[in-house]
């Protein structure tokens, strides 16, 4: 028996475009646009069953201890660093396997990435705030932090910089994201030290190389705000690096009280460049306030507005967003003076009547798959607490090529549908469909799912004829209906 494609209801299609499909216990909105706008501003705690073996209706809040704040995370980073060195030293003649096992144990104790990954997946599986999540993912990807040390604190960035600020002014979000430890670490600004600063002079006396590091300065303009369309020069980039010098340090030493005063906004005056700097024709003074002015000026550039509105439209609306649609978003930006909440609201309005075809990111497809199945597939906080199983928390999204907790390039994951179409991606969809149906606890039958979703009768017949219930489920989620938003 072969399947064919069927259209889905406008409401489900819209939920899929701007949010996620409903779980069986969720209500399907009668007024989708107002539902979506209200959903954007929800502030739900993360709820999920404590373990992946538990009943999917037994929801409990994610423990606060797994979101301990940036200071605690930086202490962890410091301790992990120390214990790594000491294990290496202590076990330097021990067999590799024994040493690795001790290192894994220590890392597990201090690294909260597994928790951050599991928490994002728990929200994706159970959260009713799906519109808020989708915008959160968009912005967390826009401000990609993707390397080893940055991971320890990336979850903090998502919870405390992205989610609370993504509906405020873009200028503020840009500043919040730029000044988070993860970003400063990931784009090497921790190494951006003025040769004229005290730290620079000390380092020179130690015979070390001293100088600026352009990495964050370049990407803040190229990727985070105005894009190369602005036509900035290498001089603009090196001047921006001088504004950024002093922001961030490798690791904050818990024994050093002075460092602790700056964990939230790590600005080290001793590393900063004194004097005036000029970027894109505007002159900035010295000190930590210059960065806030600089990010505000970047946010106010027309090219920034164009770039951000285009990216939002590309992700949510269409692979080839029309000028009419991006103009509507830009108008909302201008009228609100760069308030992202207003821009997002406009996008949610447009999306109800005007969207084109979009392939969902594999992560959103997997969340939808789990949600409609009614099951509990991802790990709960209790599973992640266990070292043996905990490190598996990052695997599903790694397999799908869209993990927020793995090494990647600063331009983040692509927004265009075509980037996600390949034979291996198809193979992964099929495998995950069988894995969710085979191992997710509390799942519904394919027939129950089809009834819940109001699947057209003809498609129902085809799916019933697909073979085993696992194959039926696969047929239900590996198709155009479940993978794509329709025009």
């Amino acid at each position: 028996m072969k399947t064919t494609n069927s259209p889905k209801s406008p409401t489900l299609n819209y939920m899929m475009r701007v949010g996620l499909l409903p779980r069986p216990e969720h209500e399907v909105p009668s007024d989708p646009v107002n539902w979506a706008i209200a959903n954007l501003y929800r502030d739900d705690p993360t709820l999920s069953p404590p373990s992946d073996r538990d009943d999917p209706t037994n929801l409990q809040p994610w423990p606060e201890e797994f979101d301990p704040g940036i200071r605690r995370r930086l202490i962890n980073l410091w301790r992990w660093d120390e214990s790594r060195d000491s294990i290496r030293e202590r076990l330097k003649n021990a067999p590799e396997r024994e040493r690795q096992s001790k290192l894994d144990e220590a890392q597990f104790k201090y690294d909260l990435r597994w928790h951050d990954a599991a928490r994002m997946d728990a929200r994706g599986s159970f959260g009713e705030d799906s519109v808020r999540q989708r915008f959160g993912h968009f912005w967390f990807n826009h401000f990609t932090v993707g390397n080893y040390d940055a991971f320890y604190t990336a979850g903090d960035m998502y919870e405390h910089r992205i989610l609370p600020h993504m509906n405020g002014d873009f200028a503020n979000l840009l500043y919040e994201a730029t000044t988070h430890y993860s970003m400063l670490r990931y784009l090497d600004n921790v190494s951006n030290i003025s040769p004229r600063s005290k730290a620079g002079q000390w380092r020179r006396m130690d015979g070390k190389q001293v100088g600026f590091n352009d990495n964050l300065a370049r990407e803040i303009m190229e990727l985070h705000s105005c894009s190369p369309a602005q036509g900035y020069t290498e001089t603009d980039i090196s001047e921006a690096a001088r504004i950024l010098a002093g922001w961030g340090d490798w690791a904050l030493n818990p024994k050093n009280e002075r460092d602790w005063l700056s964990a939230e906004r790590p600005y080290i005056r001793n590393k900063a460049e004194p004097g005036k700097k000029t970027v894109l024709g505007k002159t900035y003074g010295s000190g930590y306030t210059a960065l806030k002015e600089f990010t505000a000026d970047l946010a106010a550039l027309p090219q920034t507005r164009k770039f951000i509105c285009y990216r939002l439209a590309l992700h949510f609306i269409s692979d080839e967003p029309s000028k009419r649609l991006t103009d509507a978003l830009e108008t909302a930006w201008v009228q609100s003076n760069g308030n992202l909440g207003k821009v997002h609201e406009k996008l949610l309005e447009i999306a109800w009547t005007d969207g084109g075809r979009k392939l969902l990111w594999p992560s959103h497809w997997l969340y939808n798959t789990v949600r409609i199945s009614g099951s509990n597939y991802f790990m709960g906080h209790k599973d992640v607490f266990n070292r043996k199983s905990g490190q598996r928390a990052m695997r599903p999204m790694r397999e799908l090529g869209i993990s927020f907790w793995e090494d990647r390039q600063p331009n983040g994951y692509p927004l265009e549908s075509k980037e996600w179409i390949s034979l291996e991606h198809l193979d992964r969809r099929i495998r995950f469909a069988s894995a969710v149906y085979g191992t997710g606890s509390g799942r519904l039958t394919p027939q129950q799912i089809m009834n819940n979703l109001g699947i057209p009768a003809e498609m129902q017949t085809q799916i019933r004829n697909a073979g085993s219930t696992t194959d039926q489920f696969t047929a239900l989620v590996v198709n155009q209906w479940a993978m794509e938003v329709q025009a």
């Binding site: 190389q209 590091n213 069988s434």
Partner: protein, 378 residues
């Protein structure tokens, strides 16, 4: 500098392009492998111009000890022992002071331009290898989770990247047949390729490291009916900090990994090495001068390696621009004096039997692209 262990950035990926049964070209046994070094390779530390007295003054800290000598002029990075051996056997050629015509130092524009091979970033939706395969009437196969731009354009590129999904079952041809009608046309194409793979050879490896993928690529390319082109991505070349010099740093691990990939490919190709050309590509070089964190910033001119049994190796091909400030590009980067596209064109000409003029015109849209084929092949 960077006290913590360096961990590679970016997942490796392997992409392969293969001949369909109906293909009809001059030398169907010839193969092409591209190692794509993401992040911007520091050419000056990879192939070191020993006689360039100024190098030490700009970057003493980055100068590796124990260089592997190639000639009185050139030496290879000390982590590249296997490649050095291949160079001594005249199977690998270095190219220096080379670049694609891209000077703006953005990773993402640069990577796009170098894979797309067009006149501007984001101008092409197909890649230069894909277009060449298309002109040579070959199909393609890709071996990574996604399909890289470089190979797009050829009909039927498919890909390979081992899956590790707990509790899942392997797709079957019956299941794929059943799913076909419900998929959109773009996915139906992928479904057909997955079906063809299930009906053909089964990939058994679970190793997703660049070394593992190089092994898989070597074995696949060595088969008479195997793919004709492969791309393997290696990440982490964006060495802004802790690049290393006298003490091994990031570049040491990176060039060591590349070296392992090259020797693994060589070993697994067996006799097919004589019909294969590999090249390295990267989006740009790095600054001549060391920065404040024992690293280098985005630059322009860089180095590349071209190897294989038919390659006229053992030397470094360069029109050395010098490192005096006034000889540097924008007084900061190594100038590029060889257009990397000429190297790519030579490789396409040799591998796919296309005319240089056609490659210049239809693959790189640059009719006056210099031809260097005779400098690269025996």
């Amino acid at each position: 500098m960077n006290r913590r262990d360096f961990l590679k950035m970016g997942a490796g990926g392997l992409a392969l392009a293969s001949l369909p049964g109906w293909a009809n070209i001059a030398n169907p046994e010839r193969r092409l492998v591209i190692f794509f070094l993401e992040g911007g390779l520091d050419g000056l530390s990879t192939i070191v111009p020993k006689l360039e007295g100024r190098l030490e003054s700009f970057r003493e800290e980055l100068m590796p000890d124990n260089l592997l000598d190639l000639s009185s002029h050139w030496a290879l990075h000390p982590a590249m022992r296997a490649t050095h051996q291949l160079m001594l056997q005249q199977d690998v050629l270095g190219i220096h002071a080379t670049s694609f015509p891209y000077t703006k130092r953005s990773h993402f524009e640069g990577q796009n331009l170098i894979q797309g091979g067009g006149l501007a970033p984001f101008s092409e939706s197909t890649g230069w290898v894909g277009r060449a395969l298309d002109i040579a009437s070959n199909g393609g196969r890709a071996m990574s989770l996604d399909t890289p731009l470089l190979l797009r354009g050829a009909t039927g590129v498919d890909n390979y990247f081992p899956a590790h999904v707990n509790g899942s079952s392997n797709p079957t041809t019956r299941l794929l047949e059943m799913l076909h009608g419900g998929l959109s046309p773009e996915w139906q194409t992928e479904n057909d390729k997955l079906m063809a793979r299930l009906n053909g050879r089964v990939f058994n490896s679970r190793d997703r490291s660049p070394r593992g993928l190089s092994e898989e690529a070597g074995k696949a390319l060595a088969r008479p009916d195997g793919p004709v082109a492969a791309m393997i991505r290696l990440g982490g070349y964006d060495t802004h900090a802790g690049q290393g010099g006298k003490n091994p740093g990031r570049l040491f691990s990176l060039t060591g990994e590349l070296d392992t990939c090259i020797s693994t490919l060589r070993k697994n190709l067996g006799g097919a090495w004589d019909n294969t050309t590999f090249i390295t590509l990267t989006e740009f070089g790095r600054t001549v001068k060391v920065n404040g964190s024992s690293g280098t910033e985005h630059g322009y001119g860089t180095a590349m390696l071209v190897g294989g049994g038919a390659v006229n190796g053992g030397a470094v091909l360069a029109d050395w621009p010098g490192l005096a400030k006034s000889d540097q590009f924008e007084r900061r980067d190594l100038m590029a004096t060889i257009d990397s596209r000429s190297i790519c064109a030579a490789v396409l000409e040799h591998t796919f039997g296309l005319e240089h003029a056609e490659i210049a015109e239809r693959v790189f849209f640059t009719p006056n692209l210099p031809r260097l084929t005779d400098r690269i092949y025996l």
